[in-house]
Amino acid sequence: MATATQSLKKKKINRIGLELPVYRGSKTTLCAGCGHNAISERIIDACFAMGIEPTQLVKLSGIGCSSKSPAYFLGSVHGFNTVHGRMPSVGTGALIANKNLVAIGVSGDGDTGAIGIGQFIHLMRRNLPIIYIIEDNGCYGLTKGQFSPTADVGSVLKTGVVNDLPPIDTCALAIQLGATFVARSFSGDKKQLTAILKAALSHRGTAMLDVLSPCVTFNDHEGSTKSYAYVKSHADQLEELDFVPYFEDISVDYEPGETQEVTLHDGSRLYLKKLAESYDPTDKMQALGVLHDTHERGEFATGLIYVKPAADDFLTTLNLVDEPLASLPEDRVRPSKAVLTEIMESLA
């Protein structure tokens, strides 16, 4: 490990001695220029940079274009492409079975906001330690472009159909439901998205990331509020993010007074350089206020919108034994003959 760290820059290996290609996946089959591909790249970057052990990682998804993408990153990692909108429950079961796993879940705006809204809500309530990424393009790509529940009022389909229902703001919803890490970013914002992903990997609890990811085929035209052009001109960055993992030497050039530091459960630190005056991501009411205000202006607030670093996660509340439940040997899960005899006597 020491050798690996020393030669970090020279050989392009990470702190656990692995090279970047280990974190790559199969060749993407999504459309060229799809925002989802950029998100996959950032996931690869973040996991490589954080030195996540691939054998301890799992990737999960629902159904849709977004949910196909886990095949395109972390190819050597166990993955589960589940059913439409129900990835949270499968992830919950997997993490209960093995609480040492690091889980990355990828969903879409239809997979989360429509068919999966129920499971999404209960995932946020439980604060399961999982990174939950919504690759949000405001439409159903795989079924050729229908509106999803995050499509804005007034956005227009290629066919000219206008959406007249209000969108679900998954970030505001997540905050209300008790999520402990809520961020919004843009697939094209390499620096911000990578910093958020790295911070999410250090967060113990549900890290909910709504990543605006324009659909180049069905939703990247004038009239769409989720097109590249629209998002680029309407993204309102809350803060400039920098993230310092616990295992790195901490030396940053932020001036006190201009930055806010958030220490995550493992000792990693998030530095938020203020762009908006006095924005405090640990203030729930302010977070909801910003989401509301930016929405009213037709803008997207991006960055770490809300974080509550010290909350108990779901696995902690279950008070499980130290070893993964899945690996417990028979003598720890099958009570003795004396126990059965005792029960039988109580029923005789």
């Binding site: 054998t55 166990h78 949270p88 079961g93 209960h122 499980l320 899960v333 003959k337 059965l340």
Partner: protein, 632 residues
């Protein structure tokens, strides 16, 4: 049914000289639900059980919290028949709403214990009536308003103790089983028993023939409901992840399991649990969690009933196709839709066998007793992991929620079978890992589990090849589903074998499964004794069926398949496996009114189909009861 519709033959009141009826009658306690009568009923049931008399208890209750009619029926039977019997000989009428109708439904010479204010003795004159001034007797025991209702119930136990000869001390032992160390509660209830007993002794002259006398028929057996038995089985199977959603009649399975797990599976030193129980947001999520846990290598389960099964369809298909283990208990109730949530049926046989879209088939286990709920629960986890697929245990409300005498449970004879989970040694032996590669020719591939440093794979419900890669190729798809069928064939001889009783003289065979068994046992004796009709018997314990099924049918001219649903679901399932010539020998006896099936119904039906009788006698017709209103 309005009282005026019931024809009652008026006869003079019976006298004490009637021939005694010993240990062969049913006691029905009619109350309203939420009145706390369950304790008194279980104490009565348990006391008779402890006296060595074969007994069974069934609670017929409404889908409601409080205030609607409920009947608890205790059948005592010296010959050991513990199935349902329609007729009741002893009525305890505690519910003013139904007292009159309940009284009119009795056969002549039955006895009625009732609150004197109901004046039931004016309804008929051919019964033995025992009026009891409950309010006055309760006041002797307690002035506590909260306790009154419970004490009132315990007083009828005291009265019955005296009238029927149920040992008071056995009732006290039963009380202690219920209340454990709560000395004051036991003492108060004992006082209520004594007050009831003393009243009966002083004021009620025994004029009925019904008596309980000690026997020695229950040696070693236990008294338990099927859901609790299944819960013990799950714990002993080493379950680690339980996800569930409340639904009648399955809730008590997971609730009892939680109690046992907290008692026996929490580390005494650290206080930490070797299990997790999650009450999910719905049945879909419950199964999703079980599947996620199964994929990650844990022993996982969920428990539900018909509506939950319908919701789980999509996930079951995923687990079947992606080959993920999970154990699913279906405690069946009456459908379709919400149906009768508190009534019993065997109506989910077909829907579970083929649950989900596309070509799917799932193994089913059919327990008939609490002992089998236990042993099949233990077995189900081994099978799910060995075969990497969802395994269903099909119980029903009658089995799950009623009290049954059963053999004590045996400690698992074999260690847990975790199936073909890849480790270094195995990987070396098989050369290369392909998640869906049939290495051993039994259709069961090897699987790797996340977190164990073995080669990974991408688990998916979409089309895949042997290496679990996405594939839409025709040959990949077909090869894979053909292997799944091979795996299903392998199942046949791993599942619990049928219980077969061949009668060499019999031309007629009977096939049944689950709780229907108990009525069939009694019916076969009735057929033999009443019509000299000899029968053989084959009890299914699992699907897919064994080859013994075909040879059983071959031996007989006609085979009656007895089941508790309208559509002869088991017959349909059997037809998919049998040669047309054999399928043609199958006939059905069907019972589907929500009540447990009884022997008389089977016997009469078979005798009619066999040409012994022309029609039902009117007396055998079931009297419907207006008991089923309210929410679920």
């Amino acid at each position: 049914m309005p009282a005026s519709d019931v024809a009652v033959e008026e006869r003079p009141a019976p006298s004490a000289s009637v021939e005694p009826v010993v240990n062969d009658f049913s006691i029905q306690v009619a109350t309203v639900n939420g009145s706390g009568s369950q304790t008194a009923n279980l104490v009565l049931l348990r006391a008779i059980f402890q006296m060595g008399v074969p007994v069974s208890g069934k609670n017929m209750f409404p889908s409601n919290i409080a205030g609607l009619p409920t009947w608890f029926t205790i059948r005592t039977n010296k010959d050991g028949y513990i199935g349902w019997k329609k007729k009741t000989e002893v009525l305890v009428a505690m519910n003013p709403e139904t007292a009159r109708e309940d009284t009119l439904n009795l056969d002549a010479d039955s006895m009625v214990v009732y609150d004197e204010s109901l004046k039931l003795d004016s309804v008929r004159s051919d019964l033995v009536f025992y009026p009891v001034p409950f309010d006055r007797l309760v006041a002797e025991v307690t002035r506590d308003v909260k306790m009154r209702r419970r004490i009132r119930n315990m007083i009828y136990d005291g009265v019955l103790s005296r009238l029927l000869g149920v040992d008071l001390d056995q009732m006290e032992i039963a009380l202690r089983k219920q209340f454990g160390n709560k000395v004051k509660v036991v003492a108060l209830n004992r006082q209520a028993l004594d007050v009831g007993y003393a009243f009966a002794e002083q004021h009620l002259e025994k004029r009925d023939p019904y008596r309980i006398e000690s026997m020695d028929e229950n040696g070693g057996r236990i008294l338990i409901d099927g859901n609790a038995a299944a819960a013990i089985g799950c714990m002993m199977a080493g379950v680690t992840v339980v996800a569930w959603y409340p639904i009648t009649p399955s809730s008590s399975l997971c609730e009892t399991l939680i109690d046992y797990l907290r008692k026996y599976r929490v580390d005494k030193e650290t206080g930490k649990a070797s299990f997790a129980v999650v009450q999910a947001e719905d049945e879909i999520a419950a199964l999703g969690m079980a599947i996620g846990a199964g994929w990650a290598g844990a022993r996982s389960m969920t428990s539900t009933s018909g509506p939950g099964i319908s919701l789980m369809g999509e996930f079951v298909g995923l687990a079947y196709y992606a080959e993920v283990p999970a154990v699913i208990f279906d405690v069946q109730r009456v459908g379709p839709s919400t149906g009768l949530p508190t009534r019993t049926a065997q109506g989910d046989v077909l829907s579970t066998a083929f649950l989900s879209h596309g070509d799917t088939r799932h193994p089913l286990l059919f327990p008939c007793s609490p002992e089998e709920c236990y042993s099949m629960a233990v077995n189900a986890f081994d099978l799910a992991e060995r075969f990497q697929t969802p395994v269903f245990v099909l119980s029903d409300l009658d089995l799950g929620m009623n009290q049954w005498m059963t053999q004590p449970f045996e400690y698992p004879a074999k260690p847990m079978d975790r199936g073909k989970v890849l480790d270094e040694e195995t990987l070396e032996r098989i050369g290369r890992f392909g998640r869906y590669r049939d290495v051993d020719g039994d259709g069961i591939p090897y699987r790797s589990v996340p977190g164990r440093s073995m080669p990974a794979y991408f688990c998916r419900g979409s089309g895949h090849n042997e290496s679990a890669q996405y594939s839409e190729r025709a040959d990949d798809y077909q090869r894979n589903v053909d292997r799944l069928m091979r795996k299903f064939e392998t199942f046949r001889n791993w599942l619990p074998a049928p219980v077969v009783e061949i009668n060499r003289k019999a031309r007629v065979g009977i096939i049944a499964y689950g709780t229907t068994h108990w009525a069939v046992v009694e019916s076969r004796d009735q057929l033999r004794d009443e019509a000299d009709l000899q029968t053989s018997y084959y009890r299914h314990r699992a699907y897919p069926f064994r080859s013994a099924l075909a040879s059983f049918i071959e031996r007989h001219d006609r085979v009656y398949v007895v089941e508790q649903n309208r559509d002869a679901q088991m017959v349909t399932l059997m037809r998919t496996d049998l040669r047309p010539e054999l399928a043609g020998r199958l006939r059905s006896v069907l019972h589907y009114n929500g009540q447990s099936i009884d022997a008389r119904t089977i016997t009469d039906d078979i005798l009619i189909q066999e040409g012994y009788r022309v029609e039902f006698s009117e007396a055998d017709e079931l009297v419907p009861r207006d008991a089923g209103v309210g929410g679920e």
